[in-house]
Amino acid sequence: MAEIRLEGLAHSYDGGKTFALNPISMTFEDGKAYALLGPSGCGKTTLLNIISGLLKPSHGKVFIDGKDVTNVITDDRNIAQVFQFPVLYDTMTVRKNLEFPLKNRKLGKEAIAARVEEIAGLLGLEDDLDRKPAKLRSDLQQIVSLGRGLVREDVSAILFDEPLTVIDQNFKWTLRNRLKRLHLATGVTVVYVTHDQTEALTFADEVLVMNKGSLVQDGTAESLFLEPQHEFVGYFIGSPGMNFLDVEAKSSILTHNGMEIGKAAKEGLNGSYRFGVRPEFLIPSAKSGLEFKVDRIEDRGVFKLVHLSKDDFKFIAKTEESYEAQVGGKANFSFDSERAFVYDTNQKAVSTVSPSSEGGN
């Protein structure tokens, strides 16, 4: 169990011309679960490989429990890592595969056997222990891979690199659940890389959203959802993502093509901004708010997605399943003043927005 600290960490694969990972400094606290969330190529796997020591950073330092390990090899960092696709030793049975990391660390025979049984039980591999991995289905192979990452008890941290990519949807829920419980039970520091927001948000105590090699925002699932401090977080987290609209600000009054959208809480905003509100916080209202045309309503079983348009822009609202409206007709939607934001040209949130008092109220 350990605290991992990054200091001015950055990485360039081509000697400084371009950076796969821009300078980042942060601390992964002991015993917490972290998720690195972002699209492919955002630098999350690079960061993970630097932490595990598979990759030596071109800049900055890595500390584990206060000790500089930047130049320490993987084996001596005492870190477990699970990869995106099954990586197994073909000539060994499932049992031997699970024993391997323990044997390499010279554990006693009985301790190894007991631990392997335990992990196999946790992952539902009991019946397959004496089979060769090549004879298993690909999702089971990945679970064996996962087991090899989890089998060591003494690790400083476990790193997961999109471990559930090849796992079936329904089983993903079960596995995530088991992993989460295992984390709660062992209290080991976990770093989990994924592009799947549900996976990241449900698994981690803290989510680091990354884009183009930079850390964009970190926080709890709740704060990322409710208060996206960066346009990318608004777009990437939430399904569907945030609704955006270019606006002009004049003394903090926001307008789009002359139509008033709302008023920023922060005083004195002038110039070009973007207004953003999540579909969940566009709220049907009897009369207040903006009047939209209803283009389409998608019934998703437990909620509805209402596709709205007005002049030259489109919004999506996520409503209760009981919401009814005439497709092609008009409907009024307002927004929650704590949950609508205005972003500057650097895509950073500068203020919340309250619905304008005009607009039919």
Partner: protein
């Protein structure tokens, strides 16, 4: 069914190959078989002798000695060249210009014609003017036309120089195709360098090594040109391979019948040995072996496999 009709059509595509093979292999082979069964005295004077020639070849002490020599030579070659090839391949740079340069250097012996190799080594090992011969003579008495050991060792070293690069290139290609993730996983698991080789590289190289083993076995078992040029099979008959002996019988003594029987047996031995070799090494890759099978099936197959394995091993011994 219609599907089957279509499949049958595909056989026609193989016809040209069958045709070519008929000319290059089957017809000559039939001719050889024809010679091996009759004693041809003259154009109109031939006598059917059945398997007499085969018996003669099988009991000929010269042939038996040459066979033993060839087996020893092939085994020594495999034991030296396969590990050495793997060792060299692992030393080769993985990328960049250095990798290309290393590939070119390693490949040089492979593009030299057999008899040129032989001639080069013939001169190289001369103890009056050859660089190698003179050099070795400084440390120990070296004379390949007098010492059996020197002649044998020279053949081994020469073949190793000539053909290890083939193993190296095959293994190098095999190593390059192992995904990086396997090495990373092994590092994470705390595997030693030896364990990485044993559990990651060797299993992934299995197919490539099998091909290398087969090629090197067949080539070395049929070795002719190099010993012929360097030692001429001597001193005595100490480096006389089956191929050299066969040529002596066929061309030197013009004993066509015996030579025919000899050729057929030679050919069949290599065929059967290679086939057995291949079968043993691919036992676990038979169709269906990779499919998800119910446990009972897997178990029962394992039961069947084991005796087969040990039987084959006995046969090979």
């Amino acid at each position: 069914m219609d599907a089957k009709k279509k499949n049958n059509k595909a056989w026609f595509l193989v016809l040209p190959v069958v045709f070519v093979v008929a000319f290059t292999a089957i017809i000559p082979l039939m001719a050889v078989a024809n010679y091996s069964l009759q004693d041809i005295q003259g154009a109109d004077n031939r006598l059917f002798v059945g398997l007499d020639f085969f018996k003669r070849v099988a009991t000929d002490p010269n042939v038996q000695d040459a066979f033993a020599r060839n087996v020893t030579l092939s085994m020594q070659i495999l034991l030296i060249q396969i590990p050495l090839g793997i060792f060299l391949a692992r030393l080769m740079p993985k990328s960049g210009w250095k990798a290309s340069a290393a590939l070119v250097v390693v490949a040089i012996p492979l593009i030299i014609p057999w008899n040129v190799v032989g001639t080069t080594w013939r001169i190289f090992t001369r103890n009056d003017i050859g660089l190698g011969g003179v050099l070795v003579n400084k440390f120990t008495d070296y004379n390949l036309s007098e010492s059996t050991f020197d002649a044998w060792a020279t053949i081994l070293v020469m073949d190793t120089w000539h053909w290890t690069p083939l193993v190296t290139l095959l293994v190098y290609a095999g190593l390059r195709s192992i995904p990086q993730a396997y090495y990373q996983a092994a590092a994470i698991d705390g595997a030693s360098a030896l364990a990485v080789f044993r559990f990651v590289e060797l299993p992934k190289l299995k197919r490539v090594l099998m091909i290398a083993l087969l090629l090197r076995f067949m080539d070395s078992f049929m070795m002719y040109t190099e010993p012929f040029v360097v030692t001429g099979g001597g001193p005595g008959s100490s480096t006389q391979t089956l191929s050299i002996l066969l040529t002596t019988i066929a061309i030197g003594q013009f004993d066509i019948g015996v030579a025919g029987a000899f050729s057929l047996m030679y050919f069949l031995f290599i065929q059967i040995f290679s086939f057995l070799f291949f079968t043993v090494l691919t036992l676990d890759e038979r169709p269906g072996a990779t499919r998800v099978t119910p446990k009972e099936k897997v178990k029962s197959r394992e039961k069947v496999e084991k005796p087969v394995n040990s039987k084959l091993k006995k046969v090979l011994k």
